[in-house]
């Protein structure tokens, strides 16, 4: 897993609530047996007319040339629905390192963190401030300080992340390494049940 410390980037505003993982990556793309290459199908059915890559939908934000960046900003309840980790893989593979929303679904949040994608939960008011920025404006996220800043205005908020996950992400460690190191404790737990 890649480590993540600080990032300053323009962002892509997705003003849609309840974005479910079926929209992030439709089920027909879940037939793969590896984690790579999902980015091209991210938001597939919102991106293209009739599943045709030569017909991008002009009204969808990923197709609007003025927007770019490594930060995706979405309305509340992002990542609801299916537990498919393919959703996190497709967001990462597309090039996003951070997703900002006023509310995340639980499983998506875990999946994102397990892949080095940082979910940043902000207040509704702050989310609206971000949405009010232009396509050239940038956001800065400092994981160690747990802050997100709108660079143009200087407005900032702190965000929550548990200390353990923060350490993992800052250093690029994953849970599996940790659990493998706990083998004896787990065996001892099993023995006394």
């Amino acid at each position: 897993m890649q480590s993540l410390q600080k990032i300053t980037s323009r962002f892509i505003p997705l003003r849609i609530e309840n974005v479910d993982t079926d929209q992030i990556i439709p089920a027909r793309f879940l037939k793969a047996t590896t984690k790579e290459g999902f980015g091209k199908n991210l938001f597939r059915d919102w991106r293209y007319e009739n599943d045709d890559e030569t017909k991008p939908k002009a009204d969808f934000v990923l197709n609007q040339k003025q927007y770019s960046g490594e930060i995706l900003v979405a309305a509340k309840n992002f990542g609801c629905g299916s537990s498919r980790e393919h959703a996190a893989w497709s967001i990462l593979d597309y090039g996003f390192k951070v997703v900002v929303s006023s509310f995340f679904a639980d499983i998506f949040k875990n999946n994102a963190l397990n892949n080095g994608v940082l979910p940043v939960t902000v207040t509704d008011a702050f989310l609206q401030q971000i949405f009010a920025q232009g396509p050239e404006d940038t956001l800065s996220i400092d994981l160690a300080a747990q802050t997100i800043t709108i660079d143009a205005t200087g407005a900032a908020e702190t965000f929550e992340i548990n200390a353990y996950k923060k350490t993992c992400l800052l250093n690029g460690y994953d849970d599996i390494d940790y659990l493998l190191s706990m083998k004896e404790e787990i065996e001892a737990f099993e023995a006394k049940r």
């Binding site: 003003r15 849609i16 609530e17 309840n18 479910d20 079926d22 929209q23 439709p26 089920a27 027909r28 879940l30 037939k31 793969a32 047996t33 590896t34 984690k35 059915d45 009739n50 599943d51 309305a75 509340k76 309840n77 609801c80 629905g81 299916s82 537990s83 498919r84 980790e85 393919h86 996190a88 509310f103 679904a105 639980d106 499983i107 875990n110 999946n111 397990n114 892949n115 548990n162 200390a163 353990y164 996950k165 994953d174 849970d175 599996i176 940790y178 659990l179 493998l180 706990m182 083998k183 404790e185 787990i186 737990f189 099993e190």
Partner: protein, 467 residues
């Protein structure tokens, strides 16, 4: 102070509590399937690690399998490769597989309970968000991502922050024509698709106690559709009677010992919940969804909200987007609307009791000739039972084909898809855009309301067809 049912089970499985971090939670049973496991197997191999407790894992192929001609090789090359990868991985790592063609094959959340693998007090995970189904037995069961599948492969543990506890009490007697699916659709419509995010929900009250195990599974199944980490119901005599005698159920002295322990699984009278909701069963009517998330539901006789009922502009835009997708108007009624497809199946409603309910409505009648059907039992065992009870004859006489077990049109990974722009009255769990096929318009209902649509070809109040 007393503990909640959820708290009792969770606490007993904590191997270690990381300071300011998650718990290391021990997992009793791990179900896997072909779609969310391959990357976890390759991950563990890349680390040079072995599966820690392969005997605690059970595999099946369900998401990506055809529901006709299962004896033939899978036509779709990618699907076949994925299912074959599961076979290879299970063989290589010593995992029990109930694969295609096996008498125990079926939707993972149908076969677990059916075989008696799912038992009270357990922690159960699976790389599928509807793992909450198993909570109907008084277990802590929840869906996980593939990295977490790999964690359980590596250590039989998972890193997880303890959710808060919610209790939803449903007291009273259900109205005629109202079944457990209506209860859960009613709850989700009431608290929204994100209303239980961060919580583990216990369903309680006299209306829940009166339900069969199949009906309880339908309710727990959809806990995730309101954002909950999982849902559970305290085990009682109904639970014990269902489990006893099943293939993997404890036997003899072991049964007595387990039973004594299972009887301690309830929320103490003084247990504190972080949130509690009370519902009167009499308020629940047959339900249907009109929008593109399971929270957008109403009574089948109701009318859609109007634009003015939303104060927030983002909410208005989202409502408008959903209605555009569904081809519906604000304020309209759904009754009498023609529909083109009926899907009966999925881990929500594909058990024998669901087929009995449908059979009881369609017996001696013909389906509307314009309606296309996908009727898919949850498992080989359910299919066998359908035949044993002669329900297949009732479906056949009504002009309806019963297919073979799998997830089918619930998520449209295989060929079972709903054509763009067409309506599908569906007993599944999600009405997301494109879920049942690109452009498909899903309306979630109970098996009874689906049966009514089968006969009339329209959105119908099932109560008008009951004596």
């Amino acid at each position: 102070m007393g503990n909640t049912l959820f708290g009792k089970i969770w606490d007993k499985h904590v191997v270690k509590q990381i300071k300011d971090g998650p718990s290391v939670l021990y997992i009793d049973k791990h179900f896997i399937h072909e779609v969310t496991s391959p990357q976890a197997f390759s991950g563990i191999e890349k680390r040079g690690a072995k599966l820690f407790r392969p005997a605690q894992i059970v595999a099946t192929a369900d998401h990506n399998v055809p529901t006709v001609n299962q004896h033939l090789p899978i036509a779709d090359q990618l699907s076949r490769f994925q299912v074959d990868t599961l076979i290879d991985n299970c063989k290589k790592h010593g995992v029990t597989l109930y694969g295609l063609g096996h008498e125990h094959q079926g939707i993972v959340h149908v076969i677990g309970p059916e075989l008696g693998i799912t038992q009270p007090g357990m922690t159960i995970v699976c790389g599928d968000s509807h793992t909450s189904t198993h909570g109907a037995f008084g277990s802590v069961a929840f869906g996980i991502g593939t990295s977490e599948v790999e964690m359980v492969f590596a250590s039989q543990c998972i890193m997880q922050t303890k959710p808060k506890a919610m209790r939803i009490n449903i007291e009273g007697t259900l109205n005629k024509g109202v079944v457990s699916k209506d209860i859960i659709l009613y709850i989700i419509a009431k608290i929204s698709a994100s209303g239980a995010t961060g919580y583990f929900v216990e369903y309680a009250g006299s209306a829940i106690r009166a339900l069969s195990m199949e009906a309880r599974m339908t309710i727990c199944n959809m806990s995730i559709e309101m954002g909950a980490r999982g849902g559970l119901i305290a085990p009682d005599q109904t639970t014990f009677d269902y489990i006893q005698g099943r293939m993997f159920a404890p036997k003899g002295a072991d049964w007595e010992q387990q039973l004594a322990e299972w009887k301690t699984l309830y929320s103490d009278a003084d247990a504190q919940f972080d949130m509690e909701i009370n519902i009167d069963a009499a308020d629940i009517e047959p339900m249907i969804t009109y929008g593109t998330n399971p929270g957008m539901g109403l009574s089948v006789t109701g009318t859609l909200p109007t634009m003015e009922s939303f104060t927030d502009t983002t909410e208005q835009q989202n409502f408008e987007k959903a209605l555009n997708y569904m081809g519906l108007q604000p304020g309209q009624s759904l009754l009498g609307m023609p529909i083109q497809n009926v899907f009966i199946g999925s881990c929500t409603n594909s058990r024998i009791e669901d087929f009995r309910l449908v059979a009881c409505i369609i017996k001696g009648k013909q389906k509307d000739p314009a309606v296309k059907t996908l009727i898919v039992p949850g498992s080989q065992e359910v299919a066998k039972q359908i035949k044993k009870e002669g329900l297949d004859k009732i479906f056949e006489a009504a002009g309806i084909e019963i297919r073979q077990a799998g997830c089918s049109a619930c998520l449209g990974m295989n060929e079972d898809k709903i054509p763009a722009g067409e309506y599908c009255v569906s007993t599944s769990n999600r009405n997301f855009e494109g879920r049942q096929g690109a452009g498909a318009r899903t309306m979630l209902v109970s098996p009874l309301t689906a049966a009514a649509a089968l006969l009339t070809g329209k959105i119908t109040d099932i109560r008008t067809l009951l004596n």
